[in-house]
């Protein structure tokens, strides 16, 4: 009841406060002479948004950077000790290595898989159905997918009925196959986790690429064919350059997804057996070790890794707009 009342109040109070701010500020502006009014008005309208950005983005970022230079409880300066931990301790290095694996393999496989499926499906009549099926896993959360794939990778000792799909299929196909605990053996287990991520995101990439492929001008392709270009040549020299911006956009999105991957690892292995990634290591540092400094340092490293990607993305966006 208390919570409901609070929610009702919030629903009423926020629009009321916004309206009060706008009306009040406009009333105040109206009393000013024209020139300062013109100068001030944009800032008056921008102020709430700027305040939000400052409170919810700028302040936490600065605070995280400050915390990353302080000790476990944030009480004293420790210089770069937390960064030394991030680049020297075994567990953090394993997390860094795995995050790099995710960046490379996950991004590469999703882009290649999505593009491949889109390019092949384009040529068949039932393309919508295929794309629909490939897209389906997108509807699942990473957590749900993790649970499902945990069943796929399930291990039973040799001789017992294999209830894990992968072991069961391999045992049926390969004579004398010894079941394996897929999620236990490093470094391959990280690869099996990446497969789950690829399974989810490839459909998304395929749909985006399919739209981009439809936009490739048919006359250029025909002209190339007339000039004697084969399928491969058309794909590499016509299609790929034309859909370049789309590829870059998908790759950027996947890089960001790979950097912040957490759920799949947390659900399937909890970061055990050397499957930690930066995000799960950060969670562990914060909640288990209760070491604010180390957690903050890992967060800053993640942030630093995303900045160049975002910067490239912004520059490209600006380029697109300038070209228009």
């Amino acid at each position: 009841m208390h919570a409901l009342l609070l929610a009702a109040l919030a629903l009423a109070a926020i629009p009321a406060a916004s309206a009060a701010y706008i009306l009040g500020a406009e009333a105040a502006l109206a009393r000013l002479p024209t020139r300062p009014r013109r100068a001030l008005r944009p800032w008056v309208w921008l102020a709430p948004a700027l305040a939000f950005v400052a409170v919810f983005l700028v302040y936490p970022t600065v605070d995280t950077i400050v915390l990353s230079l302080r000790d476990a409880t944030g009480a004293a300066w420790v210089g770069l000790a937390n960064y030394a931990y991030a680049f020297q301790s075994r567990e953090a290095l394993v997390a860094l290595r795995n995050t790099l694996l995710w960046l490379g393999l996950f991004t590469g496989l999703v882009v290649a898989g999505g593009l491949g499926i889109a390019a092949m499906v384009e040529r068949v009549r039932y393309d919508a159905a295929v794309r629909g099926i490939v897209f389906l896993p997108m509807a699942l959360s990473f957590t749900a997918a993790g649970v499902i794939w945990k069943f796929v990778y399930e291990f039973r000792p040799a001789g017992a009925p294999q209830i894990g799909l992968l072991n069961a299929v391999l045992a049926a196909l390969v004579h004398g196959f010894e079941p394996r605990a897929w999620l236990v053996g490093a470094p391959w287990n990280t690869l099996f986790l990446i497969v789950v991520g690829v399974w989810i995101w490839t459909g998304f990439a395929a749909v985006v690429f399919a739209a981009a492929l439809k936009a490739v001008p048919a006359e250029i392709v025909e002209a190339a064919r007339v000039d004697g270009a084969g399928e491969w040549r058309v794909f590499w020299q016509i299609t790929l350059p034309v859909i370049g911006p789309t590829t870059a956009a998908v790759a950027t999105a996947m890089v960001i997804t790979a950097l912040k991957v957490f759920d799949v690892v947390y659900v399937m292995t909890s970061g055990n057996f050397d499957t930690d990634v930066l995000a799960t290591r950060m969670y562990h540092a914060l909640f288990v070790d209760q070491h604010l400094g180390r957690a903050a340092a890992l967060a800053v490293i993640l942030l630093a890794a995303t900045v160049p990607v975002m910067a490239a993305n912004l520059r490209r966006l600006r380029g697109d707009e300038a070209a228009r």
Partner: protein, 432 residues
């Protein structure tokens, strides 16, 4: 604008009045305090049903509603809520090792004036009360316990092999080797438990240390007064490794140990023919087994012996676990619930439903539903000494590293020196 604001104020006033009236209507009887008390814990499934049954009489009597939130990642959820300034009223603590820091940061409220400690010291053995004290002041209380370090077996399977459960560890090891010679794995073992994977191994290692070197050595280790590579600790790891890392001794081999969930680990013991004969686990595993195999009759299809002795003088030392409850908001409802949870009346309800032992001496032995739980309760009461599992008593960072270390050990038995060295390094930070 002004009129609109007035309307809003009137609306709030009306809603507040309604709320107060609603509250007053609920507290017609003098004893009823009404309201709600939020509880955070790990329980789900049949355990949650038992908790609900336990608090039902409390809810009926006080009119207070118990709002339970369950999570398997208790440590993180509790930490987040405490740091966010939104702790539950009452919570189970992840383990007693988390108690000191929560008490020192004043997140936990002292219970000295909430519970009748004089009365309680008559009902609870001193060991159980001491678990919840920080600097002499009670901050938490055990409401439900388990007896760990039990070797479970199927009596019929053992007699089919013409074996009797050994009472000496060396005999059990010899038996394990003899069975291995016949191509049979003696043990079932599984370390999987989500974020806490590895804890069953920490119980093994601690139990072996308790049996070989006794409670004093255990205490010194838990408080980090002896190093991780000190001989008694290292030997306990190696004894555990003799079984857990030997594919001939354990069903599924080391990768089976790592890939099997702890609660499913004993199930192959009941396959036809059985894949293993022994399983080391606490009393609560009985509930998991009987839920899985409804035909299992306690006593005839399932039995246990205490972990066999190594050094004779430490034979009966009990390894225990318990759900430790603390109060994070000092409200009348929270106080009433804490007083209720420690009572023999409340604990008898869960005990009767199975899967739990009570720390309260007021719960009679005949409240226990079957011969096994009755025997466990009796062993618990008469143990010459009792210790919480080492993993439960260390600082959280140490515990997590210990869990992980056991997984690394089972995967790479030849790395024991490096693993213990790493744990020693973690300890230097964790015990500051």
């Amino acid at each position: 604008m002004a009129t609109r604001r007035r309307t809003a104020l009137v609306l709030i006033a009306v809603m507040t009045l309604l709320l107060v009236a609603g509250g007053a209507g609920g507290s017609s009887a003098a004893a009823k305090i009404g309201g709600t008390v939020s509880v955070l814990g790990t329980w789900g499934g049949s355990e949650l049903d038992s908790f609900r049954a336990m608090v039902k009489p409390f809810e009926d009597r006080t009119g207070a509603h118990v709002e339970f939130q369950g999570t398997r990642d208790l440590s993180a959820v509790l930490q987040t809520r405490v740091q966010g300034g939104n702790p539950p009223d009452v919570a189970a603590l992840p383990n007693p090792g988390a108690l000191p820091s929560l008490a020192r940061s004043h997140a936990l409220k002292p219970l000295g004036h909430v519970l009748d400690m004089v009365q309680l010291s008559r009902e609870y053995p001193a060991t159980w009360l001491d678990i919840g004290r920080v600097g002499g002041e009670p901050y938490a209380i055990v409401v439900k316990t388990a007896l760990k370090g039990l070797v479970w077996y199927d009596p019929k399977a053992l007699s089919a092999e013409d074996i009797r459960p050994p009472s000496i560890w060396a005999d059990l090891l010899a038996l394990t080797d003899r069975l291995a010679g016949r191509g049979k794995t003696a043990w079932c073992l599984g370390l999987g438990s989500g974020a806490a994977s590895g804890w069953p191994a920490t119980d093994w290692i601690d139990m072996l240390l308790l049996r070989a070197a006794g409670p004093a050595a255990h205490d010194a280790w838990v408080q980090h007064k002896t190093a991780w590579d000190a001989p008694p600790v290292k030997q306990a790891w190696e004894q555990f490794g003799r079984i857990a890392t030997n594919p001939k001794s354990v069903y599924g081999g080391p990768q089976g140990v790592l890939a099997t969930e702890f609660n499913e680990a004993p199930f192959p013991m009941f396959a036809k023919p059985p894949h293993c004969l022994f399983h080391l686990q606490a009393t609560f595993i009985q509930d998991f087994i009987q839920k899985q195999f409804s035909w299992v009759r306690p006593g005839t299809d399932l039995a246990f012996v205490l972990m066999p002795r190594i050094a004779p003088q430490y034979a009966g030392v009990a390894q225990v676990a318990g759900d430790v409850f603390g109060m994070f908001h000092d409200t009348p409802q929270a106080r009433a619930l804490m007083r209720y949870l420690v009572s023999a009346e409340a604990q008898a309800i869960w005990v009767k439903r199975g899967g739990a032992l009570s720390p309260n001496k007021g719960v009679p032995l005949d409240a226990y539903p079957d011969v096994l739980s009755r025997r466990a309760a009796d062993l618990l009461v008469h143990a010459p000494a009792a210790r919480f599992g080492a993993g439960d008593m260390m600082p959280p960072e140490m515990t997590a590293a210990f869990y992980k270390g056991t997984l690394d050990y089972v995967a790479h038995p030849d790395q024991l020196r490096a693993i213990l060295g790493h744990l020693e390094a973690v300890a230097r930070d964790a015990y500051k």
